[in-house]
């Protein structure tokens, strides 16, 4: 069965190393007295809540094209954001200057959202320990660039060796080491270091009559550089090349409703789009999501249990604390088809009389936090993947996926399928091109008729965009069958 043989697997929490093996705690990003001073200035006009967010992110990236390392680059972005909440109003100011006058200016600018004139008072904070859901013994920032470049060279060779029809290979390696500190007027002060790396390979294969197909694949997560020993770049490259070559000669996709079977893993994007976004508390509070007011209602088939888990060891969407300093959590959003709850950041939780679920995330200090997903997956079911396929007389097998998008109000979501096969009498037939799935979240979930018991490898390459902010996320789905899905294609009748 052709499938995205993602070279990564889910790590379990038992693989977490003992705390003793952790790296020594680095010096604070900003001195605690300065954090407290900024909070005091931020509250000077009588806000209800203030928070200082400090970030320093070091990024390294290397790119390859035409079998050569095209460039290596590195950069540092650092800054401080001050947020003041007064009632339901938020004032925010940020600065990438670290000198005290600039920071105080930001604090007093944010303070202006409150209209009062109250006297300045002290807001002491104390450092709170944070959990650890990933272990990076040696910082990715300290690994020699030549070693990172070597991953790409190896990937390039493997992709080209895979098949003579491979004509182009582009690759990129990116890592970042992001240090954050969050202090607020509730006295909570947390610091964390988040590291992440990703290798991404894009392959073009050329067939007969100038037909060209692209394949792409990636690997990574919040993992140490030794990740590439167990998940070698060759595996990533061969998977990208396999996709490009496998889709050569693909036929037009039939348009209209079909039974679809989704391969496990990266297909989790479907869940991310079809339900995930619609369960984010900002949309719920404003009443713009079709899932608003539906807690306790049946929104999916009995087979559907959806979990957002920020604590999965080493995953791309994993957090120790969110960008408001709250510990990451495992949340059951839908259980056996019944809507259980939403994803909350601090502000929306407060306005809605709930508690934060550790879902307040932001792209950087230049952005306000909002409720976001971390790693979102469908709990495994009881069906064997082989049986799921065997039972389908005619349909579409979706092996690998591009991206997706959702309109959270009418619930319409799309899910781009980059590698798909016709299913005939329970067997895979010819590859089809240009397929896309469209549906309305809850209806599609009610049509989930089989959920596999197979593992759901997250390749670790997902990035989610919302209101112009991008954050890394994880996804997961076992093999799943959905009935009566509208498949976009070019072939009619």
């Amino acid at each position: 069965m052709p499938r995205a043989s993602a070279p990564t697997r889910r790590a379990t929490s038992s693989q977490l190393a003992p705390l003793a093996a952790r790296r020594p705690t680095p010096a604070p990003l900003l001195p605690q007295p300065l954090l407290e001073r900024l909070l005091a200035v931020a509250m000077a006009r009588g806000g209800d809540f203030a928070e200082v967010y400090v970030e320093r992110t070091q990024t390294t990236s290397v790119s390859l094209e035409e079998s050569r390392i095209k460039s290596a680059q590195t950069g540092l972005v650092q800054g401080v954001g001050v947020r003041v909440i007064s009632g339901a109003k938020v004032g925010y100011a940020y600065s990438d200057d670290w000198d005290e006058p600039a920071l105080l200016r930001a604090a007093s600018t944010a303070a202006m959202i409150a209209q009062g004139t109250g006297a300045e008072r002290a807001f002491p904070v104390s450092r709170v320990a944070v959990p650890s859901h990933f272990r990076i013994p040696a910082s990715l920032a300290d690994v020699e660039v030549a070693q990172k470049a070597a991953l790409l060279t190896r990937a390039d060779e493997a992709a080209r060796a895979f098949d003579s029809r491979v004509t182009q290979v582009n690759g990129a390696y990116v890592d970042n080491t992001r240090r954050i500190a969050v202090a607020n007027t509730e006295g909570r002060y947390t610091e964390d270091t988040l590291e992440m790396c990703r290798l991404f390979v894009q392959v073009v294969a050329q067939g007969k009559r100038n037909e060209r197909r692209m394949g792409q694949f990636g690997s990574g997560g919040r993992v140490p550089f030794t990740h590439w020993l167990t998940f070698p770049p060759e595996d990533v490259a061969r998977e990208a090349a396999r996709q490009a070559v496998a889709t050569l000669g693909a036929v037009d996709c039939a348009a209209g409703p079909q039974t679809v079977v989704l391969a496990p893993g990266w297909s989790g994007i479907l869940l991310h789009e079809a339900v995930g976004h619609g369960l984010e508390a900002d949309f719920i509070r404003k009443g713009t999501s079709l899932f608003a007011g539906k807690v306790g209602e049946k929104v999916a088939s009995d087979l559907v249990t959806v979990i957002d888990d920020g604590t999965v060891a080493g995953n791309r969407g994993t957090l120790n604390i969110d960008d408001e300093g709250n510990a990451a959590e495992r949340k059951v959003l839908i259980e056996n088809g019944v809507l259980k709850g939403y994803l909350y950041d601090g502000l929306n939780a407060k306005l809605m009389g709930q508690r934060s679920t550790g879902s307040g995330r932001r792209e950087s200090f230049r952005h306000l936090p909002m409720p976001r997903m971390t790693n979102t997956f469908l709990a495994p079911g009881n069906h064997h993947p082989e049986d799921i396929l065997k039972e389908v007389k005619r349909g579409l097998y979706c092996a690998t996926f591009g991206g997706g998008q959702v309109d959270i109000s009418n619930g319409n979501f799309v899910f781009e399928v980059s590698e798909a096969y016709q299913i005939e009498d329970g067997k895979l037939g010819r590859p089809v091109k240009n397929a896309i799935l469209i549906g309305v979240g809850p209806e599609a979930l009610k049509n989930v008729s089989r959920v596999g018991c197979d593992p759901m490898p997250d390749p670790g390459m997902g990035t989610c965009g919302k209101n112009g902010q991008n954050v890394p996320v994880g996804v997961g789905l076992p093999t799943v069958r959905i009935d009566n899905v509208t498949v976009g294609g070019t072939q009619v009748g």
């Binding site: 339901a88 600065s95 470049a149 469209i438």
Partner: protein, 448 residues
Amino acid sequence: MDYQKLAKRIVQRAEKKGARQAEAFLEVGRQSNVRVRDGQIEDLTQSTSKGVGLRVVVKDRLGFAFTSDFEPAGLERLVDQAVKLAEAAAPSKLNGLPGQKDLGRYADTGDLFDPAVANLPGDWKVKAALEAEKAGREVDPRIATFNAVGAGDFVSEVYVASSEGMSGGYSGTYVYLYAMPVASEAGQLQKGYWLDYKRFLADLEAPESIGREASRRAVRMLGAKRVKTQQVPVLFDPLVAASFISGIADAADGNSVYQKASVLAAHQGKRLAGAHVTLVDDGLLPRGLSTAPFDGEGVPTRRTPILEKGVLRNFLYDAYTARKAKARPTGNATRGYSSLPGIGTSNLYLEPGTKSPEELIRETGRGFYVTSLLGHGADPVSGELSAGANGLWIEDGELTHAVQEVTVAGNLLTMLQDLDGVASDLQFRGGSTGAPTVRFRQLTLSGE
């Protein structure tokens, strides 16, 4: 601080530390935006930002580093890192900064900076957003809520200096206003979206007009339903048409063409569409959002027709790719300080026709008028496009009921051939890509 001088100093420092060539790209900005909700401020953000990217060539190897830390130690580290990173890259004779003959003279861009935007009083944005929200709410009682209504402005300065004689800078202003209402009826929610984004305050659409149009677009989607799978004439409204032409521009990227990873690669000089189709990238468009004297590496911007009267004329290049492909740079290097230049569009637009969009709809008789697409657009390698579509059904030359949960699919090449109508309503709606309403003779619509 004199940023032009600072950029030059960074270049000199890099040369001293062993760079054969060096280029500093420096950006400074200040921005402010507000969102309102239920007649109140929802949030207000203000900030300043800055950063510099340094590109060096050391022994034919390319290195790049960036930082937002302008302290002397931070800049020293920037130079050291760029030079050190060059050592990890592969040598190539093609590496090099744009030289004297690429740099050349700058054409006149007209004004890029509006003092009225730069000096916009803080409460103007709050007032404008509140007016947009109020006007939007008054359109129809079925407007239930808003995702967001907001306004913002920013002022940015760009400075570039290089060892090859480049030294220049410009500053620009930007102001924007948007509304995202949600209409509700019989358990169905439908969002609307309308915005305007300009360099000059006088060019910006009135707040009431933004609010009303956004709400009109939300309300008319109520009752949306699927239609049957079929092949029909399809119209794209200007927003959707803009995303379609972006897809063509992606495929006209000189590097993808050089790598034969573009559906357009083999078609230069060929007729791909009717004579009414002219697609232009114009870095000098008067008052355009992306208008600038030079691109991200100092090469003068210009007007480059991609499709001229239906014929594929030009691809878009930065200096490196032009050298590699033995083509001329087109001034299409785009970047921020934190990245190396890449190829991108400046002001991209499809030249308008003479018919009004209403006329185009009327003569269509029966078809699908698309007002938003879901998905990431066309695959530039194969040219295939398959996307979710929302819009309105055309029957007897009139817009009738709303349509959702369907897809449209085609291929860029066949879609260009089938592009049989271009209306007169060219607009740059919320970005530097502009298009009028267009019609395709036939696309596959997938639904029931």
